[in-house]
Symmetry: C4
Subunit: 225 residues, 4 copies
């Protein structure tokens, strides 16, 4: 049914990908935890600072090694950079790392034996989780930028999460808004990604609802028609 043939994956690359799935998922979650500690825990508390550094730095190193290994094993050379653009992007832009968590979790699920969710439910779960993780990371990043600014309306991490909610859903109250340049750049990125991801959630929910209602029609006894 698929009209676009995809190149077969070399056996050694497939083997590598299967083996690194679980470590990479753990590394992604460690990165997220490390970034949280880095932003939210005051820098004066000495031990936490080092913990954060390790939790942020080590996963990144792991991702770089994994990227290099897959680039080598794929035998595609420079084409790999383009065909795996999401991997390339998340390597260069750490705040997009959460997208990897979802990707890895999805790949892990492929090997599980139990029946999975329907197509629309999976798209909803994937896009929704990505949006949540992106929103959380953007809250951390914007809070880090804004808390030092005297004109800032984002004073607590709670304000930042509230801002991310209003931004992702495009409600945009405007009671908490980034004012620094870097804060606004992160916000623009969140808008763009969030809009597409939440659009996918909404669209899939709509399709799923139509599907449920049309199944109801079939189950209904036909005598009343």
């Amino acid at each position: 049914m698929s009209d676009r043939p995809t190149a077969p994956v070399p056996p050694r690359l497939a083997e590598w990908e299967r083996r690194t799935e679980m470590p990479l998922l753990v590394a992604s979650l460690a990165y997220l935890a490390g970034y949280t500690v880095h932003v939210l825990v005051p820098h004066s508390t000495e031990p936490w600072r080092d913990v954060a550094l390790v939790l942020v730095g080590l996963p990144w190193l792991l991702f770089a090694v994994d990227y290099g290994a897959r680039l080598h094993l794929s035998g595609q050379g420079r084409r790999f950079v383009r065909t795996h653009w999401l991997d390339t992007l998340t390597l260069l832009l750490p705040p997009l790392r959460p997208l990897r968590v979802v990707q890895l979790y999805t790949r892990l699920q492929l090997h599980r034996e139990q029946p999975r969710l329907s197509l629309h439910a999976r798209v909803m779960a994937y896009a929704g989780t990505s949006a949540l993780l992106l929103g959380y990371t953007a809250s951390l990043a914007v809070y880090q930028q804004e808390r030092g600014d005297p004109d800032s309306t984002i004073r607590t991490f709670g304000d930042s999460v509230w801002w991310a909610c209003a931004t992702l859903t495009t409600v945009g109250y405007g009671d908490a808004v980034p004012v620094t340049l870097l804060g606004r750049v992160i916000a623009a990125g969140l808008m763009a990604c969030g809009l597409a991801l939440l659009g996918a959630v909404t669209g899939s929910f709509s399709s799923w609802l139509v599907q449920v209602f049309s199944q109801q029609d079939e189950k209904r006894p036909p005598e009343s028609e």
Copy 2:
């Protein structure tokens, strides 16, 4: 046509569900009325307070009994909790109760003999009514949280309804915004649910409009082509 076989409903469960439909619908509406009285009527007026307590508490008890009975009759054990996640959720989170009103009403309609609306119209009606009921409940809940706060911009129940309208449609003027923690959590919930529900309304309206226009094409005399 349906590719996902659904487990047959045990006859005793089907019997139970048919018999409890009408009482549960009445209980849902009573819950909504009780919650309205609880929030809007001043607590000093003694008789109303007790009325609200009964109207809120009794339906909840009924829902819990119904949930338990269906859990038992289904013979699914713990799987029931997952397959009937909407029932489970509305039992634990009372503000989502209105979704049950719509669900029960839809199920009641299945037994009526008269011809029903078209597929898209039903999706629109279901999602639209759910959004309205959710918006109304969220208005009550946010008003309850916000009216006591000195910094609040939501001072009357009218302000709260106005806020809910602007939030559900993602317009988000920002002239009335929750400032308390719990108020913001409820708001975030309303954004997420409302976005999906209104997306379904919009999508179905769009599909319905396309359908109407393409039917117009068929009716048109072909000599002008």
Copy 3:
């Protein structure tokens, strides 16, 4: 192809509808012009006040007569009220009258000989024009309510149009917002209708774009595949 049989229109009703199309379209436009004059021209200038009254009142009378005549000729009795719900609604709620302009114009086009627009283009044109007319009428109605209020942020008709633009597109800056009860009720109505109509415009534009791009594929010489 249509799976929902529609009742055949009685010949005398069809005749009536064909004959009244043009007068009703003129009456709709007159109503819109009269309402504009009524709101925007100061009431002290005597002649205009009477002009507005005639332009608003006469079309309404005409619509009522037309509604009664069609109700009688259809021979459907009370069912007519439900099957022609848009006509019923626009008769009772004058601000929704602009929807009739679009409806009548669309019906007129059915008799024209020249080739019409494609399906998606027509849905876009219909929904877009409806949204524009609704936004214009809502601007007038909200301006009429808000201009007298001391707390109002909508001081000129330009502010009101700007508010309607920001509301219809769900941008919702919040720099101009209705504060009166009736102003907010009109705003909520505009949000609901506008959201659905603009959703249809966006959806059809998206479908049309996909269609254009897939036609491009077919035209392309196949040697480069």
Copy 4:
């Protein structure tokens, strides 16, 4: 498969269009650069002013000549104005010029030999690039209008870009809003175009995601079903 036959392009027109593609693309980019210089560089700096004038004026002249030549070669006379409405519009409304950049780039791609992106990816790329270019031009135009106004909240070009981001994504914080008449007219235009274009991006992304997930189903070993 296409049900709407398009008129065959006269050979001399096709020849003209193929030859002018690259010069017109360069002219479009020069126009954009010239407009940027015109708005952002202070007018006192003499040489830049003339550079901007040349960069803005010359491309416009080129577009007018091209439009006239194609109008003549098509042999369609006045019908050309209607069938090429986007060309007509961008000739009269310079801020819409960026849409030509995307159109020309798309046409150029048709002649390239290498395999192109999938349908949904191309719609996303087209609509996304158009939205970006429109947003950039609108930022320039609104900044030009607003910077002189004493009540303006758009004080730097950065504010203007931030406003354009919040408007295109319909977030609409309201912290930076045009207050002049012409600024608001441009804003309304951006809202309308941006809404449709970003709706196409979101819709295509959603479709693409569903496609990716359904391909995943096919690749999956069937033993676990």
